[in-house]
Structures are given as structure tokens and as C-alpha cells.
Amino acid sequence: MELSAGKAQRHTGRHNRTLTRAGKVMREPALVFVVGGSVALLVVFLFLPLGKVLAMPGAGDWLSYFETPRFVRATLNSLFMAAISTASATILGFAFAYAVTYAEVPGSRIFRIIGLLPLMSPPFVTGLAFILLFGRRGLITWTLLGLRPDIYGWKGLWAVQTFAFFPTAYLSISSVLKAAGSNLEFAAVNVGARRWRVFRDIVLPLATPGIAGAALLVASQVLADFGNPMLIAGDFTVLATESYLELITNWSPARAAVLSAVLLVPALVVFLVQRSIVERRSFVTVTGKPIQGTRMGPVPWLKWGLTVFCLAIALFVLAIYGVVLVCAFVKTWGADFTLTAYHFVMAVIRGRELGNSLMLSAAAAAFSALFTVVLAYVVQFKQVPGKAVLDFAAVLPSAVPGTVLGIGYVLAFNSGPLAMTGTAFIIITFMIFHYMAVGYRTASGMLKQIDRGIEEASTNLGAHSLRSFWSVMLPLMKPAFTTGLLYTFIRSMNSVSGPIFLISPTWTLASVSIINLADHGYWGQASSLGVAVVGSIFVVLGVARFVLGEKVRLFEI
């Protein structure tokens, strides 16, 4: 990597020794425009809102944080919950990923699809179904098993968060496991290594950056989520819920900002730790060639164990979604199981929320994918000043909880020259900047594998940056573009914690509407909308696969 960068510099240096780095940039107006534009966008839509969150509260507001035991307790609870949920969701995600992409247990294809389901529905819906199945009078716990577990508290929340966020871990770990070279394993086996040693010394270290990345994603999502804590945590309070209630119920933006700023600290620590781990141990064996040789699968008893494990998870997921489906199409779960299309008609057909969600998410996905690909290209391939900062800014949003960024958007864009609360634009920009990290990471990972020679050849033949980018680089980066596109789309369809602060009468979203409906007791309509969201995501994925003419590369995150 370093070597090739040096080579590139020497190479271009031969063309024009006298020009400084900045001077070289100035030579290309398109590049100046792109770099300047990216910097401006990141400053306005990322750093300004975050700065507002930090700058808004006065000394008195900070004092009230430390003087309110409720807030301090919520902080400790948030940290505790994030720690245990991240650990459990990551372990579960790793085991699942190992089973379906590495050990390839029987039924892996089906397990892969089922494992994705929780990722595609707003977390709130799963929380509701969880109560109906595993509550004190749940279908499984009480009716079938006669148990009375007390789920209202940290234990119940832990279970729900583990379940809701393990797919995120599974997705990002499975992509790394897939890429990890089997040639190394093959060599290890040839020199007589046993299976356990291969796993410990080769598979696990190779997967470490992926696991760290997965843990980061899970941690920031657990920190940000307030839907499930509101529903299930009982008296156990977390920061995300508290800051939401401060803003929405008590309308005290300053205190909400304090709580958000506090929430930002653990998120950033996790982010920095993860970054240093990945940088220190980044030895993924990407050759760009298909894997050769055979993989060292686990011993048979372990393989069967993993199969049973996957089957249990799959049944659990299906049970949850079964409940949601039933809720959506019967009059009232628990009271009147007559079939009806009423909820679906009211919430989906007559409502405009699903249409809005699809439209805004699609717009955000398109812009986000394009922006991240361009940004990654500039950072990886161009000698521009401050590219380390750009790189950092592009992956930072993955660590910022949606609640924090959402409150920041309210504070930054409520009035003044940038006033745009209530518009579709503010929701779209939120989605673009909050979910850009995955697309960016994929694109820059991919660019690291592309030989600069290709672009240099094009430049040497007289093409400008823009031209080389358009006709040479862009086609090569199509897979990264697709990943960014679909990831942003799916996350935007389901995001609640940020957009809940940004919606307006004209621009309501399905994900937020689900929470409001459930809050007001319209469980059937909430479930219907949930079903519609999951269904439409699957349709879009199908269409994408058809239109983009390749395997939908969601696994390459």
C-alpha cells in the first residue's frame, strides 16, 4: 500500500516536478470543485450539527445533568447495556456468520436470508412481537411453557437488543470471513496444523478487523436505540430514551443536547478503539481472485452443533415475524383473531408514509452512494491536502448515534440562513450523512485493490481527472456503489432515532409512524406498516438485483 503510493508520487512527479501538491490540485478545476464541495458538505451537515449539540447547553444545563440522579443513572445504564448487548450480539453474529459462510452448514442459503430479516424492519416492531411471544403472558413463555419471566427491565432489553442487532454483526463479519484467504489455511494444514489452531491462529486474527467493525456498528446502534428501551426496559432508563423524552415530551432542547453530548462520548471512544485495532492489524488477504483450495471446516460434531444453533435462531426470527404478520391482519391480537385487511388499508394503502419513506430513502441512497464513491476516490487516489481528515470525517458518522445527529440537525437547521426543518431535504441529508460510512469503507477498500496504473494510463493518454474517473474508475467501483446504495436505502427505511426529530406533517416516514401508531395503541396498523416496510425492501432488493445485473453485494460490507 505504502509502496504503491510512493510509486505513484514518483511517477506523477516525473511529469511536473515544479508543481507543489496544492498547485497540482489547482491545475484541475473539477478536482478542486469536488474536494471543496465535499469539505463544505461535511462541515455543514456533519460537523455543524455535532458542534451545535456540544455548544448549545450552558453551564447551568451541564450542572443540571450532574445534579439529576436520573440522568447519571441513565448514562451508566446506557454504557452497561451497550457493553453487554454488543458482546452478545457480536458473538451471536460471529457464530452465525461462521456457520453459514465458513462452515456452510446444511440450509445455509435459507439461514442467510432469514438472518437478514431483523435488519430490514424497524427495531420497535420486533420489541412488540417479543412481548407478545415472551412476555409474562407471552404465547411461548406462558401459554406453551407456563413460565412467567419478568422481561421488563435490563434482562428483557438485553435479549431484545441482542436479537435486533445481531444481524448487523453477522453481515459485517461474514463479509470478512468470506474474504479471508483459504490459501493460508491450506498451507497451515499442509504443515500439520490442527483445526483448532487454524481457527485460533488464522481465521480469528483475519476476522478481527471485521469483528471490531461489527462491534462498533452494533454498539452505536444500541446506544442510539430508544424504541425498545421505551417498550421493554421498565424502570431501567437509558440515555437515548431520556434525551428523546427531554426534547419531545418536555421540549427542553438544551437538556436534550446535554444528554446527547454525553451519549457521544462512549460512541466516540468505541469508534477510536475500533479504528486503532483495524489499523494495527489490517492484514486481510484480499487478492481479488476467487478463493482456491479447500477450506478447513469444523469437526462434524461442531458442524451439527452450529446447524442446531442456526435452526434455533431461524425459528426465533420466523416466530417474531409470524407474530407481526398475524398482528397486521387480524382485528386485535389477543382478543379477536378475525382476519381483516382494515389495518393494512388504513396504514399502508391510505397512508402516505410508506411512499414517503421509499422516495426519501431512495433519494438518500442514490446521493449517498455517489458521494461516498467520489469521496473515496479522491481520498485514495488524489494527492489532496488534509485527506486524513476527510477519511476520518467520512467514517465518523457510523459512530454517532442517530439521536445525537438528529437533535443536532434540529438545533442547526431550525432557524437562520440554513432553516430547513420540516422539509424533505433535511430528512434526505440526514440519511445521506448518517449512513455514508459503510458505502465509503467499501469503496475505499475496493480502491486499495485497484492498481493506480489503470488510472495513470488514462491520465497519460490525456484524460482529465473527471474523465478518468467517469469512464475508468466508476465502472470498476460499481460493486462498492451498489453496496452503498442498498445499505443506505435499507437503513434509511428503518431509521427512527434521528428522523423522529425531523419529520413534519408533509413528510412523515413509515418507520416513525410505526412508533407513533404503537404508542397510541394502534398495534394492528403499526404491524401492517412494519410488514409493508419489510416487504418493500425485499421488492427493492429484487429489483436492484435485476436492474444492476449482478448479485446484490450486501455481504461485502
Binding site: G135, G334, N516
Partner: protein, 343 residues
């Protein structure tokens, strides 16, 4: 003019512009055909009211569904150039506070005469639409199976909730986070005094499984059988009964209450339409629609009540409950509450 077709086109365009201008002028002379409402009801409920209003008057309603605190903050922030005409929903204490700050306009609606004195502002700044008493909801299936064999009677008073058999089986909203919870707390303390009142909540705390973050949650949690007994507003509980759940609902003697109200925002862009809306929303037709939809008990006596609900006059609620004092005491009471009960 060499080409007659071009001439005709230009003439037609001029006529069209003139007609358009005339229409605009006429419309302006007639007054605006629009109304802006800040509403705290759920959209599903608000929309139905507004479309009925649009059908009856031809006035188009633009609305924003907000949480109470947010709506109040918004009206305050816009005091110098109000953007909305009507503030609909939220307890009367919020309207009273806005009246004191000079944010509301007076209006003596002819329809307000039909509403009992207790449910409207004496100066005509706000009018109550519905009354929500705090009530007890019991899951009947569970009660019959678990309590009847032990000869435990169905709770009828607040004190009945203190039975040790109900330990861990009661849910109520957190007064710090929900106006429902605070209404229960403040009305009880007003009725029975600080000493007796706090002693009651200390006893009750032992039976409470958890304090919910949303006012509606207890009714849902009891309806689905998760808990045996819940405390929240009557209409939230009636919705569960309407949905088909087997629940018993009790309005205990001396129950506290809220009055969901409506008021006109001073200096709003469409004052004439705002008055029309008040006439409409406290009128019989709108109140009937609202009651049928939300199970809330209307302030007008000439509205048909949800099945099984006693009229207000027959309910033995805490009539002297001073909601304005309750609002003034809020910070102090919640401070004590959080010291005693925050978990």
C-alpha cells in the same frame, strides 16, 4: 396585426390574466379559505375532525401534530408573528398558562353555552372538549383465575390497590414523563393532603412493577395480560375494551381528571376561520365524532356516550380538583416524587 391567430392568442391570454386576477381579488375579499392548527391528538384522530370541518365549511385545514410541550414552546416562540390559529388538545392547564402569558384570544362561542361552567375558562379563552378521569383497568381473565378463588374483591377505590396480593402486578405511568401519571399524583395529593397522599404512594410503590414512560402503556399491558392492574386515563382503557379485550374498568371515587381543551392563538393569520373552527369543534357533531373515535368523554351533555360509560354528572370524580394549582406545584411535587420513587 398580420397574423390573426397570434392576435387572438394574445387577446385570449389577456382575458385569462384578467379573469385570474378578478378571481384572486374576489377570493381575497371573501377572506382566506385556510386554517392552521397545532394539534396534540394522534393524526388518525385529528384528520377525521379536520376533514369533517373542511366538508362543512370549505375551509382547508393545515395542521401539525405535536407533543404538548413542543406545541406550547412553538406558540411562545412565534408570539411576535403567530403562524397558527388554533391550539387543539392538551390539558386545560397548558391553555391557562398560555392565557396568562397573553398568547390566546378571547372568544365567546354560541356553542360554549352548552358546556358546563366547570369545563371552560370563565373569561372565554379556552373551552374543554373532553374530560378524562383517571381510572383503574383490571384484566378480567386473570382476575377471575387468580383472585376470585382467593376471595379477593374487585378493587373499587384507590386504597384497594394496596393489597399485598397485587405486589408487582400494577403498572402506572411515570409522573415525571407522562401527564397521565402526574394527573394521578397531583389530584391524589390535593384530595388527601401531603401526609396521607405520600403515604399512599409509598405503599402503592411496593405493588408497582414499573412506571411506564407513556401514558397509554398501562392499559395495553393490562389488556394483553402482562399485568393484572393498570392506572391511566379512562378513554385509553375504553379503547382496549372496544378492541375486544376482557377488561374491567373502574372510575374510583374522587378520581382526578384532565380536560382536553381548545383555544384561539392571538394574532393568528385567519382569526375569522379560527372562530368558525371553535364553533365547529365544540359543536355536537364534532364532539360525537371525536367520542366515537377516541372513547373520550365529551364535555357536552347532548352527545351519545360510549357503551357502558356513565355520564359525567353521575361519576363521583374529584370535582374540586384545581388543575391550575396542580400545574404550579409540578416542579416541587416531582422533585419529591423522584427522591422517593425514582428507581
Amino acid at each position: 396585426m398580420r397574423n390573426p391567430a397570434v392576435g387572438r392568442c394574445i387577446a385570449a391570454a389577456i382575458v385569462a390574466v384578467m379573469v385570474l386576477g378578478l378571481c384572486t381579488a374576489l377570493a381575497a375579499a371573501q377572506g382566506s379559505r385556510e386554517l392552521v392548527v397545532y394539534v396534540t391528538f394522534h393524526e388518525n384522530e385529528a384528520k377525521r375532525l379536520f376533514s369533517l370541518f373542511e366538508r362543512e365549511t370549505g375551509i382547508k385545514v393545515k395542521y401539525l401534530a405535536l407533543a404538548t410541550g413542543q406545541a406550547v414552546a412553538r406558540v411562545e416562540a412565534e408570539a411576535t408573528s403567530p403562524q397558527a390559529d388554533i391550539f387543539l388538545g392538551a390539558g386545560a392547564e397548558n391553555h391557562e398558562a398560555m392565557k396568562m402569558k397573553g398568547l390566546l384570544a378571547q372568544y365567546a362561542s354560541p356553542e360554549a353555552a352548552k358546556i358546563p361552567k366547570a369545563f371552560k375558562d370563565k373569561d372565554g379563552y379556552w373551552t374543554g372538549i373532553y374530560l378524562g378521569p383517571v381510572a383503574i383497568i383490571v384484566n378480567k381473565d386473570r382476575f377471575d383465575a387468580e383472585c376470585k378463588p382467593k376471595n379477593i374483591p374487585m378493587p373499587e377505590t384507590w386504597k384497594d390497590l394496596l393489597r399485598p396480593e397485587f405486589r408487582g402486578e400494577i403498572v402506572m405511568p411515570n409522573p415525571q414523563l407522562s401527564s397521565t401519571g402526574y394527573t394521578f399524583l397531583s389530584s391524589y395529593l390535593q384530595k388527601y393532603g401531603q401526609a396521607e397522599g405520600w403515604a399512599f404512594f409509598e405503599q402503592l410503590d411496593k405493588n408497582v412493577n414499573h412506571y411506564t414512560k407513556k401514558g397509554l402503556a398501562p392499559a395495553q399491558l393490562v389488556a394483553t395480560g402482562e399485568f393484572l392492574i393498570g392506572i391511566n386515563f379512562l378513554h385509553d382503557q375504553l379503547l382496549m375494551k372496544k378492541a375486544g379485550f376482557n377488561v374491567e374498568i373502574i372510575v374510583p371515587k374522587g378520581a382526578g381528571w384532565e380536560i382536553g381543551s381548545v383555544s384561539i392563538i392571538k394574532g393568528g393569520p385567519n382569526p375569522e376561520n379560527a372562530r368558525k373552527f371553535i364553533d365547529f369543534v365544540i359543536g355536537q357533531k364534532a364532539q360525537q365524532l371525536h367520542t366515537d373515535l377516541t372513547m373520550r368523554i365529551p364535555t357536552r351533555p347532548d352527545v351519545e356516550l360510549p357503551p357502558g360509560v356513565k355520564p359525567l354528572t353521575e361519576m363521583d370524580i374529584f370535582e374540586e380538583f384545581d388543575i391550575i394549582k396542580a400545574a404550579a406545584d409540578k416542579e416541587a411535587l416531582l422533585n419529591i416524587w423522584s427522591k422517593k420513587f425514582a428507581r
